[in-house]
Amino acid sequence: MIPVDLADYTGSFSEYTELRVQENRSLNVSLVNGDVMSNSVSTVSGVSARTCSSGFWGFASSPLIDDESIRGVIAASTRNSRFLSSREKRDGSPLPSRPGSCSIDFSTGKPRLSQKDIIRFMKDIDAMIRDRYGRIASRTLSLQLLDMEKSLVTSDGSSGYTMIPRSILYVSMSTERDGEPVQLMDVHGGRGQFEDVFSGSEELGSKLEELYGQLMRKAEGVHPETGIKECILDADLAGILSHEAIGHTTEADIVRGGSVAGDYIDMQVASSLVTLVDFASEALGETCPVPVYMDDEGTVAEDAVIIEDGILRRFLHNKESAAFFRATPTGNARAYRFSDEPIIRMRNTAILPGKSKLEDMIGSVDDGYYLMKPSNGQADSTSEFMFGVVQGYEIKKGRLGRAIRDTTISGVAFDMLKTVTAVSDDMKWSCSGMCGKKQAIPVGMGGPAVKCMMNIGGK
C-alpha cells in the first residue's frame, strides 16, 4: 500500500506541479507443455513530479518514497523545467483546469490465493488440454496479473487515489499440418484481481473446447485471396481498428505531429452508422475494462465522443493540447510507471453497437471473409492501418466456409469507415490490450461486428 495523502507537499510547489506516488505489482506464470517456464513477481514503486515553468516541462522521479525523496523530485523537476525556460521562449498560457478528487479501489474482498494455488489453477487447465485433445503438438499458458496503485496531488487542487487491477490468461495451442506448426490463442480475464476474475479452471472448459475446434479448422484452412474484399470484422478486430487506426490519429499530440485527422474536424469521415467513443470509466451501464476516473494530470475523466454518426467531433487531449486547441481536457493524460510522465492515451475505445444481427450481416456477403481475431496492429498518421489476423473464415454465398490461415489486413481508416454498411447490435470488450505509444499501458478496446471493405494480404 502506498502513501495516500500527499497534501503535505503542496507547500513545496513553486510552479504548476503534479506529484504522484505509484506502485505497480505484477505476477507472471507461464507453462509450456506443462513445465513452469516462468514463475515471477515484481513490485516497482516510486515517486515522480512534473512541473511546468513558462510553458516548459520538467520531470523527475525516484524509487525511494520518503520525505527527502519526495521533496527531492519536486526540486529536481522544477530545476529541469527552469533549465528549459531559461533558454527557450514560449507562450506559457495557463493550462486548463478541471480539478476534482477520487478514491477508487478495485482490490478483491476475497481471501488472497497463494502462489501455489495459482500455479495449481494453471496446471489444471494444462492437464485439461493435454488429456482432452489428442492432436495438440504444444500448449502454452501465460498468466499476467497487474495491480496499478496511484496517489496524486496537483497544484491546481486535484487529489486522488486509485487501485486498478487486471488479470489476463493467455491460452495457446499448436498443432501440425504437413509438418508445419499451426497456432491459435485465446485470451481470458479482465479488470479485477485474480480471485474476482477466475473462479476455477473448470469454468474455462467450454472455451478450451471452442479454441481446440477452431484450431482444428484453421489447420485445414486456406490462405485467403489477396485484394479488396467485403468483410465482417468481429468485435476484437473492430476494437483494434477503433484504437489503432482511428484513436491514435485523433490524439492531439499526433494531430499536432501531422495526422490527417487534423484536417477533418466536423467533417464526414465514416458512414453515418459509426459512432466511436473513448470511454472513461463506464460504458453502456458497465464498468470499463480500464476505468479512468481521474487522469495523471488530475483532470476529472469523462467520455470523449470522437466520431458521432460519421462526423469527426473531437481530438483526445491532455491539458497542454487542450490549451493549444482551445478544447476541454477529458482525462486522457496517463502514465504507466511512476517514472513515466503522463502522455495522451486512449482509455476504453469502441464503436457503439448498431441495429444489425451478425447472422444477417454474414448472410448478406456473397464472397468475402469473416475476420475474428487480431494478433497485433499498427497505424499511421495517414490513418493507414495494418492488423495481423489469426482467425477467420471465408464467406461464400452468405455462409461461413473454410477457415483461413494467418494473414494481414490493411486500409486507410478514414476511407474504409465510409464503406461500413452494417454494425451489429451486440458489443464485446477486449480487456488485454497494451498500447505501446512511448510507454506501454493497459487499454480497453471493444465494439460490435462491422461490415466493410478491406484489403486482405494473402500469399
Partner: protein, 431 residues
C-alpha cells in the same frame, strides 16, 4: 550498506539464509536524462533514477523469481523470503539452474555523465536545421537522452560480474505535410558515445527526413507481382529480429521452431552472415552481461548461409539439450557484401525498396505479410516513385534462401551495423 556491490552481496546472502539451494541476483541502477521535443518545439527535460533488484532461487529444482526496486535490508530480506515461497510453490524442473563459476569480471564503457548543455545545443541545432532544410517536415517527437547503467550479477556458484555503461540515444519521429497531403510517419534511432557530431549526420536520419518530404506525393499501386525487395538498414533489424524469434527459447522448447533441426545446415543464401557482437567497440550501446549470468561473448548466428547458433538461454539449453547462446542476442552486425547499393538497385527488374515494414506477427510456420511503409517502387533497375498502400508477403525461410545480394555500404546505428539486403520471390500487391 557501503556501496552497491554490498547490496548485491547482501541480497545473495539473504537468499541463502532464506533456505534456497541455488540463488542469483541482478542489481541494476539506471539514471536517465532525457530531452524531449514535441510538435516541433523543445518541451520537456526529464531525469529519472531507478533501481531494480531481481532475485531468483532454486530449491529441489523448483524456481521462483522476484523483482523489487528497493535496496534497504528489510525489503531485501522480505524479497528473499518471498523468493523461497515462490520456489516451493512451483514445480520441479531439472532444467532450472544458475550459471557456473566464472572468473570475476568488471566491464566499463562510455561516459559517466551527460553534458546537458551540449544536449540542449545539439537538439536546438537539429531543430533549426530541419526548420530551414525541410520546412514541410513536422518533428512529431524527438528524444535525445543519456543513460548510464551499473549492473551487478552475483550467484551462489561464486559468480561476480559487474558492468557500467553510458551512452546517448537519439530518436526523431516525423511526418511531412503539404496542405492536406500527408506522408506516413517515419522514425530513426541511433546510439552514440558522445555528441561530437551534429545529430542530423547520425545514422540515416537526414536521408529519412529528405525521403519523408517527397513521400507526401506517394502513389498508389495496383496489381500484384512476384519480385524483389531491397531491405534498407533501417528496416533490416526487424527482419533479423523475426528470424531470431524462431531461434529462441519458446519455439525451440515447444518444438515448433521452423529452424529447430537446422543447426549447421543451410538456411540462407551464402552471401548472408549475421553476427551478434555485444563486445564490439564500434557500437555505443551494447552490453557485457547476459540475462542468465554469463559474461557475454560475440557470436555468429548465420555464417555464409549456415545456421551456426540458436539463441537459447541456460534454461532453454538445458531443456533442449542444445548449446547455450554466447550472448543475449541483439547488437547485430551483418557482414557487408561486394556489390554497391547502386548496383543492387540496378539489378532489380521489378520490386520495392522496403524502408519500413508494418507487419503482423509472422505465423509459427514463418509466413509474414504487412504494409510497405515509406517505401519506393523499383522497375528496370531504377527507383521510380514513393508508394503507399502496398503490401508484401512471403515466408521467412524462403526469404533467407532467396537473398540475392548484400551491399558493401553499411550503416552504424550504434546498436547494430547493417547493410542493404536484396531478396527475391516476395509477393507485392497494391489495391
Amino acid at each position: 550498506m557501503k556501496d552497491r556491490a554490498d547490496v548485491a552481496a547482501f541480497s545473495l546472502e539473504a537468499l541463502k539464509k532464506a533456505g534456497l539451494e541455488k540463488s542469483e541476483c541482478t542489481l541494476r541502477y539506471a539514471r536517465r536524462d532525457e530531452l524531449n521535443l514535441d510538435s516541433g518545439e523543445i518541451s520537456l527535460l526529464r531525469t529519472t533514477d531507478d533501481v531494480s533488484l531481481a532475485m531468483t532461487g532454486i530449491v529441489n529444482d523448483s524456481e521462483g523469481s522476484i523483482s523489487i526496486n528497493k535496496t534497504d535490508r528489510e525489503s531485501i530480506s522480505d524479497a528473499a523470503a518471498r523468493t523461497l515461497e515462490m520456489a516451493v510453490s512451483s514445480e520441479p524442473d531439472a532444467a532450472n539452474d544458475i550459471s557456473p563459476n566464472q572468473p570475476v569480471r568488471e566491464f566499463e564503457k562510455g561516459p559517466e555523465a551527460p553534458d546537458l548543455d551540449l544536449m540542449y545545443e545539439r537538439m536546438r541545432g537539429f531543430l533549426e536545421f530541419t526548420r530551414e532544410k525541410y520546412p514541410s517536415l513536422i518533428l512529431e517527437q524527438v528524444i535525445l537522452d543519456f543513460t548510464r547503467v551499473s549492473k551487478y550479477y552475483m550467484n551462489s556458484n561464486g559468480v561476480d560480474l559487474r558492468s557500467r555503461r553510458g551512452w546517448y540515444s537519439f530518436t526523431p519521429m516525423f511526418t511531412s505535410k503539404e496542405g492536406r497531403e500527408t506522408s506516413s510517419f517515419n522514425y530513426a534511432g541511433v546510439s552514440m558515445s558522445d555528441l561530437a557530431e551534429d545529430l542530423r549526420k547520425c545514422g540515416t536520419i537526414d536521408t529519412l527526413m529528405s525521403q519523408s518530404t517527397e513521400q507526401v506525393r506517394s502513389m498508389e499501386f495496383s496489381g500484384k507481382f512476384m519480385g524483389d525487395i531491397i531491405i534498407t538498414p533501417d528496416c533490416l533489424d526487424d527482419f533479423i529480429q523475426l528470424t531470431c524469434m524462431y531461434l529462441s527459447d519458446y519455439p525451440m522448447i515447444k518444438g515448433t521452431s521452423i529452424f529447430r533441426d537446422s543447426l549447421d545446415s543451410r538456411i540462407a543464401d551464402p552471401c548472408l552472415t549475421i553476427r551478434c557482437m555485444p563486445l564490439s567497440e564500434k557500437m555505443a550501446s551494447t552490453y557485457f552481461l547476459t540475462d542468465d549470468g554469463f559474461a557475454a561473448e560475440n557470436s555468429t548466428i548465420i555464417e555464409k548461409g549456415i545456421l551456426k547458433s540458436f539463441l537459447l538461454s541456460l534454461y532453454g539449453s538445458n531443456k533442449t539439450g542444445k548449446a547455450r547462446a554466447l550472448n543475449s542476442g541483439g547488437a547485430f552486425v551483418v557482414e557487408p557484401g561486394e556489390q554497391s547499393l547502386e548496383d543492387i538497385v540496378s539489378s532489380v527488374k521489378r520490386g520495392v525498396m522496403l524502408c519500413r515494414f508494418s507487419g503482423g506477427m509472422p505465423s509459427e510456420g514463418g509466413d509474414f505479410s504487412g504494409v510497405a511503409k515509406n517505401s519506393y517502387y523499383i522497375e528496370d533497375g531504377r527507383i521510380r516513385y514513393p508508394v503507399k498502400e502496398i503490401m508484401i508477403s512471403g515466408n521467412i525461410r524462403s526469404l533467407l534462401m532467396n537473398i540475392r545480394g548484400v551491399s558493401r555500404e553499411s550503416v552504424n546505428f550504434g546498436y547494430s551495423i547493417l547493410p542493404w539486403v536484396r531478396a527475391g520471390e516476395v509477393a507485392v500487391f497494391g489495391k
